[in-house]
């Protein structure tokens, strides 16, 4: 196996709030191969965005990466200087945000967004060249090059989201992190955008982390799925086993909430009840136990260890782990 593009090891991100520390990402590990699309799912507030931002070392204050390693192309991002990190952002790792209405500078023309980004990372490129590159690119994304002269408010949400992706493509980013890119689009635009993503994935061999609270979106696009719950990783595996051979009770609950997904083994699924816990004072043991239909006594006492149940398919749940005496 080749060296993975991204290797996250025991990453912990803490927000130091007035009420106390909030561990929004708690001891999370996973790897990502080149050309792979990883779907990162979980209810809102479970720390997905925080994890995404942490990969760029851009967690908003009062948040901080408190421990762990992020190996990107073999380099430990935690060891890079702020300048090296900046050169990496946009060039190697590109990010697409949730709300396309707000993620473009309202006073900057669309074209200037792309040109500026290209020229920051490739200072030798002239303005003209960069503009031409931008024009070609957005044509590929199905937008007329004239629109480069428009201001963001003149574009629809779907177009803007395509522009955001385009900025990543313009520099041939190695990894694109898309944080709920379709959440604020309406259904038809969402479908179009997902189609586009699929095309781009195949055409450019994109490596992508697709963050979403909608596990249905993941089914269409992802090669592998990572499920987060309350700051912790609940389950990771290839997309088929996650859907058809689900391990973690929380993943099951998530699946049950998507009407279009039918599970083959005919297992009765209870939809999730209750609300996700406060990360300020998370429940002890398995954080899911207050909502888990299969909880056992040990679940509320000890944190379940990570267990690779099948090759490449692991989970943190007492149902699959031996309880030490």
């Amino acid at each position: 196996m080749t060296e993975p593009l991204l290797q996250v090891e025991h990453l912990t991100v803490t927000y130091e709030t007035r009420q106390g520390p909030v561990r929004a990402v708690d001891d999370v590990s996973f790897t990502l191969q080149r050309g792979e699309v990883l779907g990162l799912v979980g209810e809102s507030g479970c720390g997905k965005s925080t994890l995404g931002m942490a990969l760029l070392r851009m967690v908003r204050p009062p948040g901080k990466i408190t421990s762990g390693r992020i190996l990107f192309q073999g380099r430990d991002l935690m060891q890079l200087s702020e300048k090296e990190m900046r050169q990496l952002r946009g060039r190697h790792i590109s990010m697409v945000f949730q709300d396309p209405m707000t993620s473009l500078n309202p006073l900057q023309r669309i074209g200037d967004h792309i040109v500026e980004t290209i020229r920051v990372h490739e200072p030798k490129v002239s303005k003209k060249e960069a503009w031409d590159r931008a024009a070609q690119l957005i044509q590929r994304l199905g937008i007329s090059p004239d629109r480069l002269k428009d201001y963001p408010h003149q574009l629809s949400g779907g177009m803007r989201q395509r522009i955001m992706i385009g900025i990543g493509l313009a520099l041939n980013a190695d990894l694109i992190i898309a944080d709920e890119p379709t959440t604020s689009l309406d259904v038809i635009v969402e479908a179009q955008f997902l189609d586009l993503l699929r095309e781009l994935r195949d055409e450019f061999n994109l490596t992508m982390i697709l963050i979403t609270h909608n596990i249905g979106v993941v089914a269409e696009l992802a090669d592998r799925v990572a499920v987060m719950y309350a700051g912790r990783m609940a389950e990771i595996g290839p997309v088929q086993p996650i859907f058809h051979n689900t391990l973690h009770p929380y993943t099951r609950g998530l699946l049950a909430s998507v009407p279009s997904i039918r599970l083959e083994d005919g297992l009765e699924l209870e939809t999730l009840s209750g609300a996700p816990p406060s990360l300020l004072e998370p429940p002890p043991g398995c954080r899911f136990h207050p909502r888990c239909p299969q909880a056992r006594p040990v679940c509320s006492e000890k944190t379940p260890p990570w267990k690779e149940v099948h090759p490449g398919h692991g989970t943190a749940c007492w149902l699959y782990a031996e309880e030490e005496a």
Binding site: R86, T102, S103, P106, L107, T117, V120, H121
Partner: protein
């Protein structure tokens, strides 16, 4: 853009009630409230006939509602009446017009100082939030606002005028004969237009301290406004997105964010303009700057009732027109605005 045109029309119409209220307020203060302006303006022991004659000439002997009607009527014709003292019978409007350029020049120069200092420091504070510099600049905003502007001027005069002897402490120009030919009435502009370099140097030297005084006084407010606007903008997604694209921090903060933060500041200029005028009155008095503010204060000591009324009305009109202008400017600058 027809819609923008309609917005401008609506906005202009909305200014009318405001002007009406302000003008009425001036009337109430000067005519309805207790205090007889004429009696106060005349040396004790003047013959009653003389007092009556003046009252009559000003129309102060008529019933209030008639006075009010005549007052509004005159204003509609830009008729501000004639002076009572120190010289009787001069046109108030003309007097005001003569003093206006000095105030304008001072205000513009002060706004330049304010913009550079206030916006620069405010943006810096927001960028370095919760740093020592941030706290110091926030404190600066409060402290500079608590310093009486005229005292700030006095301290400048003391240090730069008296102790160091670098700058003149009073007036707009060393002598009237040194003044440039009258074109706009702004000495600095006129001396550039007429290539009168000695006059330019002289008028700039005279302008520095008053402009710094008034400008620094206002800068406190702008530090705060810029800082809080910047903090809001810096929290916006597009700033995070720009950082995530690897745009250098300076560019993100001082190009992308600051531009966005400045737009709401323009709208607030309207309110700060009132502060500017109030500060100008005090600054002009401190530096014997022959503008509208000093004219007003001087006429108060002479109890020249028509001049006082006229000047205050002009201030009211200025406030209303600037607030209108600012709104128009705003609509024009921001590409997002569609009315």
């Amino acid at each position: 853009m027809r819609s923008l045109g309609r917005y401008l029309l609506m906005r202009t119409l909305l200014t009318i009630p405001m002007i009406f209220v302000l003008v009425t307020m001036v009337f109430i203060i000067l005519r309805v409230m207790p205090g007889d302006p004429v009696k106060a303006s005349i040396r004790p022991g003047a013959p009653q006939e003389y007092i009556d004659e003046i009252r009559h000439s000003l129309g102060l002997d008529k019933p209030l509602y008639v006075q009010y009607g005549e007052y509004l009527w005159d204003l509609l014709h830009f008729d501000l009446g004639t002076t009572l003292s120190p010289v009787r019978g001069q046109s108030v409007a003309e007097q005001i017009w003569q003093h206006f350029p000095a105030t304008l020049e001072l205000s513009l120069a002060a706004m330049l100082v304010t913009a550079v200092v206030g916006i620069g420091l405010g943006a810096y504070a927001a960028h370095h939030r919760r740093s020592l510099a941030d706290y110091s600049l926030r404190l600066y905003g409060i402290v500079i606002y608590s310093i009486p502007v005229f005292w700030l001027g006095l301290m400048f005069q003391l240090v730069f005028g008296v102790w160091l002897g670098w700058l003149p402490i009073a007036g707009r120009i060393s002598s009237l004969s040194a003044a440039p030919e009258h074109i706009t009435g702004l000495y600095t502009v006129d001396s550039i237009l007429t290539h009168n370099w000695p006059a330019l140097k002289d008028s700039v030297l005279h302008l520095i301290m008053p402009a710094m005084t008034l400008g620094l006084y206002l800068s406190g407010v702008f530090v705060r406004l810029t800082r809080s606007n910047m903090l809001q903008v810096l929290k916006m997604d597009f700033v995070t997105a720009a950082r995530a694209r690897g745009i250098p921090e300076r560019t993100v903060v001082y190009r992308h964010a600051l531009k966005n933060a400045l737009i709401p500041i323009i709208t607030m200029l309207g309110l700060q303009f009132a502060l500017l005028l109030a500060g100008a009155v005090l600054t002009e008095s401190t530096f014997s700057w022959p503008g509208l503010g000093r004219f007003l204060v001087e006429r108060i000591t002479y109890r020249d009732f028509p001049s006082i009324q006229g000047t205050v009305v002009v201030f009211a009109l200025l406030v209303a027109s600037v607030s209108l202008l600012v709104d128009i400017l705003y609509a024009w600058i921001d590409p997002r605005i569609r009315y």
